[in-house]
Amino acid sequence: MNLVLRRVFAMVPALIGVVVCIFVLTRVLPGDPARTLAGDQADPSVVAKIRTEMGLDKPLHVQLVQYFSDLLHGNLGYAWHTGHSVASDFASRLPATVELALVALVIALLAGVPLGVVSATRRDRPVDHAGRVFSLLGASMPLFWLGLMVIVVFYNKLGWAPAPLGRVSEGVHPPTHITGLYILDSLMTGDLVALRSSLSHIIWPALCLATGSTAIIARMTRSAMLEVIGQDYVRTAVSKGLKPSVVTLKHALRNAAPVIVTISGLQFGQLMGGAVITETVFTWPGIGSYVVQSVLATDYAPVQAFTLVAAVVYLAANLLVDLVNARLDPRIADA
């Protein structure tokens, strides 16, 4: 427990640094949010009025102090381009993104780890080569192109996928709100209609999103396994006459696990970022498409809030990775 507390406290300076950096960065970027908000036909007096309303006429350090004081009061600011507070915009959108990223991570782990293990144990055999080709394609495939292709083929031509419109089908109510994660909520309320609908909606964007991560997890698993397989204790296990499957899963995979856990944590952060593109393509009502709109509108508050949330997610994922690894390998906990 002590370790957790210490680690959480260590995050505070990192978070403050992130907030200050992004605050300064958004302000020095060219482009006047008031001008953008007012539209190109607006009179200069309108622009000036909006600037005052947004507090942009105050000196930078005053704005920064104001921002920190707002943050401490739990106020993430106001999203001018949507007309809502950032907190309420996030509350309605973040669960969709988290759910998408989690499902994609599960897919990537379920596909990537076995692929990596098989590639390592069948080194330089056809399976390994096929895995390499898949990884190369998966890691280099442009996400928006993949998404559009999936929609054209599976929705438009084959009719397997539902319309790329939101998280459940037309006419189906979202499950009763508990966590905001539709799959979890519908399981908890026994809502099979919503469960089926949300699964059929999430699977296509999640598959697209998972492609890159599957490839990377497969490659990392493969190399971690190869390293472990070459070790003395694996050779000992084999010479003791243990079954190959036991050697692979019990001895080798368990020792390669820390690497896989670490890469999975990093990939989760990547998936949250990749969701930006996937969400736009699939009209997924998450945080990604919202942030894209905010950036285009030079709307500071949502961009800053997103950076803050992303930093928290990264740090939390890192913490989780370390804790899991400490469990897997006691030597890490002492280090």
Binding site: A38, Q41, I151, N156, G166, Q293
Partner: protein, 522 residues
């Protein structure tokens, strides 16, 4: 161990499901067909406050939920309904009278109009609504442009509006969504004007029942509407950023109407079964502006040379795929009072060379061109124009900029050349030229300054006679066409793609769909 966890999870799930409500256990939520419509828009809008709305989606909701004092007339053009913006017809005001000197208007309100929660639409509400507009960020400048000096109650259902001077734009501006009549008492009860950003308090044909800018919005028919009952009971608007998705959903019949269909998709949709493309001239224009205060564009001959070098047909056919038409004046051809007098330009490189030689630039010159991001056609246009100008020895250096930067750069009035589009929501040359091409115009980023234009525009503003006024606007347009502060690229079509069986769509120059006019016949 693993099995225990799974069993535990299953038991927990079942236990929780026993007590929590299940959203889909009630009756089915399926709507009957025929009186509902699903529409696909690209963005979710910013606000529902009529005085602050200034994007197509927000404006659409405002027009659905609110009425104005007066509205634009309708006519048909080749069998298709379209707006007649120079004809002003009654809405909440059943009649009005101008004073002899045209500086004061008295409006008589209908006495059967009610706001959506039952309160009567009274003179008080009108006065307070105008106060709200005057105090707003976005619409306050329209208030000024309309020349409103004072709004007073002259009876329970009578309102008197005094102007600072005779101003024919006044009646043109009044039907705009910005001048919606709001139930201000309800607004006060709910804590003030901020409440309007997410709520409505109007007397319009629809109620906004749901609005989430990230996903969708719904509107339901106002069953106690004072006017003609809307035919569609419910309209759902889905916000779909990706244009190709909007097109596919329309093709599959999952949405009944789609906006902002890119020109290349219009062609492919034309062959689709059951899809109707309504593509008609609007008043959105695209022009290539040259800064009249920066060399060498301070010489009209150089600007004319550029106008002769633009490959107009390529822009219309290759870039816009026919979803645009030639532009022959600074004012769009669908605007009342349009005149192409003095317009002589066509793609003629010899003439362009001759003009450059006359201006002493027979060897050509080079200039900076600023390209704002966000619109694919601008990019293609710029590249085609660059190639064409190179043939007469003119080097166009394209500098790309993100849209927010671009707008900021224009504001400095130091950009040498750029292209930009413009829609005059008030479909009148006075509004259009006043903002864009008079010396004082707040959007005159090309620094065009011409005494003839300024004088005719000022005279026209106070001229009550339509024919005389249009003559003055004609003079101004002729002068502008000759002096060529801009090279005119094209007029955009307003494209609305919908399923067959949708009737009543009326094209308005502002591009806003009025859902209360629509009906679905199959």
């Amino acid at each position: 161990m693993k099995r225990t966890i799974l069993a535990f999870a299953a038991v927990t799930a079942l236990a929780v499901s026993g007590c929590a409500a299940n959203a889909n256990s009630g009756g089915s939520g399926a709507a009957e067909a025929g009186d509902t419509l699903v529409a696909a828009y690209s963005e979710g809008g910013k606000t529902l406050d009529p005085a602050e709305a200034n994007d197509v989606t927000s404006d659409t909701f405002v027009v659905a939920a609110y009425d104005q004092l007066v509205t634009y007339g309708r006519t048909t053009d080749g069998g298709q309904p379209k707006a007649k913006t120079d004809e002003i017809v009654p809405m909440l005001a059943k009649s009005w009278k101008a004073s002899a000197d045209n500086t004061s208007y008295t409006f008589t309100l209908r006495d059967d109009a009610k706001f959506q929660d039952g309160a009567a639409v009274t003179a008080d509400a009108v006065v307070k609504s105008f106060e709200h507009i005057k105090a707003s960020s976005s619409a306050s400048f329209l208030y000024k442009m309309a020349g409103i000096a004072k709004v007073t109650k002259a009876g329970e259902h009578t309102v008197k509006i005094d102007l600072t001077a005779p101003n024919h734009l006044f009646l043109q501006i009044l039907p705009m969504y910005s001048f919606s009549i709001i139930d201000m008492d309800k607004v006060t009860q709910n804590g003030g004007a901020k409440w309007l950003a997410n709520n409505t308090a109007g007397s319009g044909p629809y109620q906004i029942t749901k609005w989430d800018p990230s996903t969708e919005a719904s509107m339901a028919r106002n069953e106690s509407y004072w006017g003609e009952k809307p035919k569609l009971r419910q309209v759902d608007v889905k916000f779909i950023a990706e244009a190709s998705n909007r097109v596919q959903l329309l093709r599959k019949g999952e949405v009944g109407l789609a906006l902002e269909v890119p020109p290349k998709d219009v062609q492919s949709l034309k062959g689709s079964d059951g899809v109707v493309i309504d593509s008609r001239a609007g008043n959105k224009i695209l022009f290539f502006a040259m800064n009249n205060k920066i060399k060498p564009f301070d010489d009209p001959r150089v600007r004319q040379a550029v106008a002769y070098a633009i490959p107009y047909d390529k822009l219309l056919n290759d870039v816009m795929k026919g979803q645009a038409s030639p532009m022959k004046s600074a004012v769009a051809s669908s605007t009342p009072g349009f005149s192409d007098a003095g317009y002589t330009y066509g793609h003629d490189l010899d003439k362009a060379r001759a003009l450059l030689a006359e201006a002493g630039l027979s060897k050509g010159f080079s200039f900076d061109f600023t390209l704002g991001s966000g619109f694919d056609d601008w990019n293609d246009d710029a590249v085609l124009i660059q190639a064409e100008l190179a043939k007469i020895g003119v080097r166009m250096n394209i500098k790309k900029m993100a849209r927010p930067q671009f707008l900021e750069a224009l504001d400095t009035r130091k950009v040498q050349a750029y292209i930009t589009r413009w829609t005059s929501f008030v479909n009148d040359p006075g509004y259009h030229l006043g903002l864009l091409l008079t010396t004082q115009g707040s959007s005159n980023y090309a620094n065009f300054s011409d005494p003839v234009v300024d004088k005719s525009w000022q005279q026209a503003a106070t001229e009550p006679d339509v024919a005389k006024r249009n003559k003055l606007y004609g003079t101004a347009q002729q002068e502008i066409n000759t002096k060529a502060p801009w090279a005119y690229l094209y007029e955009y079509n307003i494209v609305v793609a919908h399923r067959a069986g949708l009737d009543g769509y009326t094209s308005y120059p502002d591009g806003i769909v009025r859902f209360f006019q629509l009906s679905v016949t199959k």
